[in-house]
Amino acid sequence: MSEELQESAATGGDSREYLTFTLGSEEYGIDILNVQKIRGYDAVTKIANSPAFIKGVINMRGIIVPIIDMRIKFNLGDVEYNQFTVVIILNISGRVIGMVVDGVSDVIAVKDELVRPAPEFGAVLDTEYINGLATIDERMVIMVDIEKLMSSGDMGLVDHYAAGAAG
């Protein structure tokens, strides 16, 4: 499904739609085509001997989905789980992954030329996973290459980096 959408989006013009979310004080944007849905945080089943930012797995309509907490991954202070905690369910090349963030802000259309390359600087994310920066209503949004980030070795979500990239 996401492939079809991607195709139509690619032919539709130079502008892409992004879902923006906040992590700490920074605002991030990810390609909306990678987003399957947004849901609240439920009880998870913990996975033994996994890093702290991997909260566990949940059942989403019969599929076992791992949940990672980006706030823990990037050390963004206190982590609370309440009725406002948001999980973005991502579909990264067929793999379904849930990502806990501080909040979901908006869906914005950004023209490709407005995304400028990011300088080497100290965002919580490695610049390797950043596509660029865009300014929306005076706010800076960091455009994340979510596919690359999630299939990277740091996240430990897949057995091999190559497997994630290929799959």
């Binding site: 033994a48 001997n49 797995v57 076992i64 793999r95």
Partner: protein, 760 residues
């Protein structure tokens, strides 16, 4: 006509594999002395279907091999040649070559051209063994004989000069004419007063079939059969067949497909007559003809054009009249009548040479059609999706039932009744859906007669194979994974188990060894047994070998422990390495494969009496019988097959070894204690073993005691993969969804025991 054929390749591959397996099976069962004509025909049909498919899809190499194969088979089934062992071997080899070619087309291997040529030459030599002129059209050049009768709706001119005795016998003559009339429309052009009967027969039969009819009453020289002028000479068709092989737009290609036993009817066309094509487009609502082909003949192309224009919204995408345009002039009544289902009219025509008449042809078609109707080909993914959805339904029901528990059963009787109905129905549904994945084990077993035959011949041993319980059903996924381990075990039994005929005679046993493959259900398991009446395992030799390789053994090991040695990697007691076994790889692979399927292997052996290997497998990969256990807030599932018993240990049963490794003393055995909350780093409610429960488990690392907080319940759980969205977790084999919708992890007992040993 350009169409992407690749989408049909998979179907072809699957079907061809089935046909090959079928062929092999039949070949192995054939009784050389007294071959069953029906079986020979079945083999021929299988070969023919492969040839047709291969030709259509452009796999000319396969078509060539099957073609040679067919030539010999054709002569066999016409009883011109008697089958010999050599032929059967040649057929089996040809089958192997085809398998190799098939694999190569699926990008899974290379073709050994030398072997291909060898087999073809062998078959050719066998086929040309004794040429016989008995049947008019059976020239060694098989192309003509196969294709000659292919044009349907032919009008044949028959000149028959019976000898005097026969012509005097009016009754016999009448009977002959009745026979002919049964084959088509018979016109008597002259009454035979001059000693010569001139007849015209119009029908879908070939010259051969007609000649066959005459063969019963007279010498072939007395009959001459010629196609009526205005009809295409048979040779034209034959040439077309040769030239256009392989590419999809050829009449012959589609013709073969038309005969496809599966009877999909995708590739129907009307190679016979233009009349047929007209019919087809008149009846385009029937829409069978998806792929015809036009061999480039103008008239036909015109018709096809016209058709395409007319049936823009019809089903028949590629109807074409592939036949010889000349045939259009013929009345062609029987063939045209079959316009909506050309394959039916084609098959009898092709099958006639062997069947000895039209009834034979019909007989061939019927079982195939019935088989096509009674089964459908569905991708495993679709079935898995169904299984998933049904699993969800069961979970949803459990959630509903949980919510309904707070209601008053008296006032809400109807809800409770509804819920219990729902439960029953969804359980039935689940079972029904699971049964879709079940296949009889004969799918694996059927290859073994061949394996045994070849291996035994190779080793110059005499072995008989008995198959028992071939109908036992198990999950398709298991069947596929079972093939390799079983293959290994059977070959091992022949190589190491069964002795040479001399040794057997010396030991007072019959020269012919026996291997039994038996499958049966036992409880929720399937048990597969491979037993031989050979020499059995040699305890001393195994122990010596273990010592040599430095494998630690207990002081006085039980037989069972000794037998398990053969599963150690690199372990082989064979004095010499043969190409069949003895390299020491294999048995450890067998065990690993079986364990991957949540199964286990047991060995029983008695010196001089034989060895019995038992494989225990769960019925399906998708469902597991499990015990849910609680540790802290987490629920885990332990596979029931691994659980021996559960106990609440007393303090005196717990011992420590060198201060840290803890063991539990149960029934005289000291079992290592695996503390789940320590292995998984969970905050447990019970930290001391005597507060919790220990579950005694049987693992491949030996028995172990797993400590948990409490036992919850016994469930049947649907196994879900963690790896599809995450990665493998050590100590966990999968996950499942519990009645409340939460995820529970399924424990991998062997890995847990290993993990715990590593930690200790």
């Amino acid at each position: 006509m350009s169409i992407d054929m690749s989408q049909f390749y998979q179907v072809f591959f699957e079907e061809t594999a089935e046909h090959l397996a079928n062929m092999e099976n039949l070949l192995l069962n054939i009784d050389i002395g007294n071959p069953d004509l029906e079986e020979l025909n079945a083999i021929f049909r299988a070969a023919h279907s492969i040839k047709g498919g291969a030709g259509t899809f452009g796999f000319t190499d396969m078509a060539e091999v099957t073609h040679v194969l067919e030539t010999l088979l054709d002569r066999l089934r016409k009883q011109e040649l008697a089958p010999t062992d050599e032929m059967i071997d040649a057929f089996l080899k040809a089958g192997d070559v085809l398998k190799m070619q098939l694999a190569a087309h699926q990008d899974e291997g290379d073709v050994d051209e030398v072997q291909v040529v060898e087999v073809c030459e062998l078959l050719d030599r066998l086929a040309s063994g004794e040429a016989s002129a008995e049947v008019v059209a059976s020239t060694p050049d098989e192309t003509t004989s196969a294709v000659e009768p292919a044009v349907s709706g032919h009008r044949w001119l028959i000149t028959f000069r019976p000898d005097e005795t026969f012509s005097a016998d009016a009754e016999a003559l009448e009977a002959l004419f009745t026979d002919l009339a049964a084959m088509g429309t018979l016109e008597r052009l002259s009454d035979g007063s001059d000693g010569c009967h001139r007849l015209a027969l119009t029908g879908e039969l070939g010259a051969e079939a007609i000649a066959d009819t005459f063969a019963f009453v007279c010498e072939p020289e007395q009959v001459s059969i010629t196609p009526d002028d205005g009809l295409a000479p048979a040779t034209t068709a034959a040439e077309a067949d040769d030239d256009a092989f392989g590419v999809f737009d050829g009449a012959p290609g589609s013709e073969h497909i038309g005969e496809d036993e599966q009877g999909f009817g995708f590739f129907d066309d009307a190679p016979g007559s233009e009349r047929l094509a007209e019919q087809a487009h008149d009846q385009e609502d029937d829409g069978f003809g998806l792929f015809g082909g036009s061999p480039g003949m103008e008239q036909v192309a015109e018709v096809a054009e016209q058709e395409r224009a007319e049936q823009a919204q019809g089903y028949g995408f590629f109807d074409g009249a592939a036949g010889t345009p000349a045939a259009a002039d013929s009345p062609a009544a029987p063939a045209a009548a079959g316009g909506s289902k050309p394959p039916a009219s084609r098959t009898p025509a092709r099958a006639v040479p062997g069947g000895g008449g039209s009834s034979g042809g019909n007989g061939n078609k019927k079982p195939a059609a019935a088989a096509a109707e009674s089964s459908i080909r569905v991708s495993v993914e679709k079935v898995d999706q169904l299984i998933n959805l049904v699993g969800e339904l069961v979970i949803t029901h459990a959630m509903l039932a949980q919510s309904a528990e707070v209601l008053d059963p008296v006032t809400n009787e109807r809800i409770f009744n509804g819920l219990s109905n729902l439960e029953r129905n969804s359980r039935d549904l689940q079972q029904a859906v699971m049964s879709i994945r079940m296949m009889p084990i004969s799918f694996v077993f059927s290859r073994f007669p061949r394996v045994v035959r070849d291996t035994a011949a190779n080793l110059k041993k005499k072995v008989e194979l008995k198959l028992i319980g071939e109908d036992t059903e198990l999950d398709k996924g298991l069947i596929e994974k079972l093939a390799d381990p079983l293959n290994h075990l059977v070959r091992n039994s022949i190589d190491h188990g069964i002795e040479s005929p001399e040794q057997r005679r010396a030991a007072g046993k019959p020269e012919k060894g026996e291997i039994i493959l038996r499958a049966s259900h036992q409880g929720g398991n399937i048990v597969i047994e491979i037993s031989d009446d050979g020499a059995g395992l040699n305890r001393e030799k195994l122990l010596a070998k273990a010592a040599e390789r430095g494998i630690p053994m207990a002081e006085n090991p039980s037989d069972k422990e000794v037998w398990q040695l053969i599963f150690a990697a690199g372990f082989s007691t064979a004095e010499k390495v043969t190409d069949i076994s003895g390299r020491g790889v294999g048995m450890d692979v067998v065990r690993r494969n079986i364990e991957e399927m949540n199964g286990r292997v047991e060995i029983e052996s008695e010196p001089g009496r034989g060895t019995r290997i038992l494989i225990r497998l769960p019925l399906t990969l998708a469902i597991l019988d499990g015990m849910s256990v609680r540790v802290g807030d987490e629920i885990f599932i332990a596979p029931l097959t691994a659980i021996l018993e559960s106990i609440q240990p007393q303090t005196e049963q717990l011992k420590t070894v060198s201060g840290k490794g803890r063991v539990v003393h149960v029934r005289g055995e000291y079992l290592p204690l695996v503390v789940l909350h320590e292995v998984f780093h969970i905050d447990a409610r019970c930290t001391r073993p005597e507060e919790g429960i220990v579950v005694i488990l049987e693992s491949n690392e030996g028995k172990a005691a797993l400590m948990v907080d409490e036992l919850v319940a016994q469930h049947q759980v649907v196994i879900k993969s963690l790896e599809s969205n995450y990665r493998k977790i050590e100590g966990v084999s999968g996950a499942t969804i519990m009645g409340d919708g939460r995820v529970a992890l399924i424990l991998d007992i062997d890995a847990l025991v290993r993990l715990s040993q590593k930690g200790a």
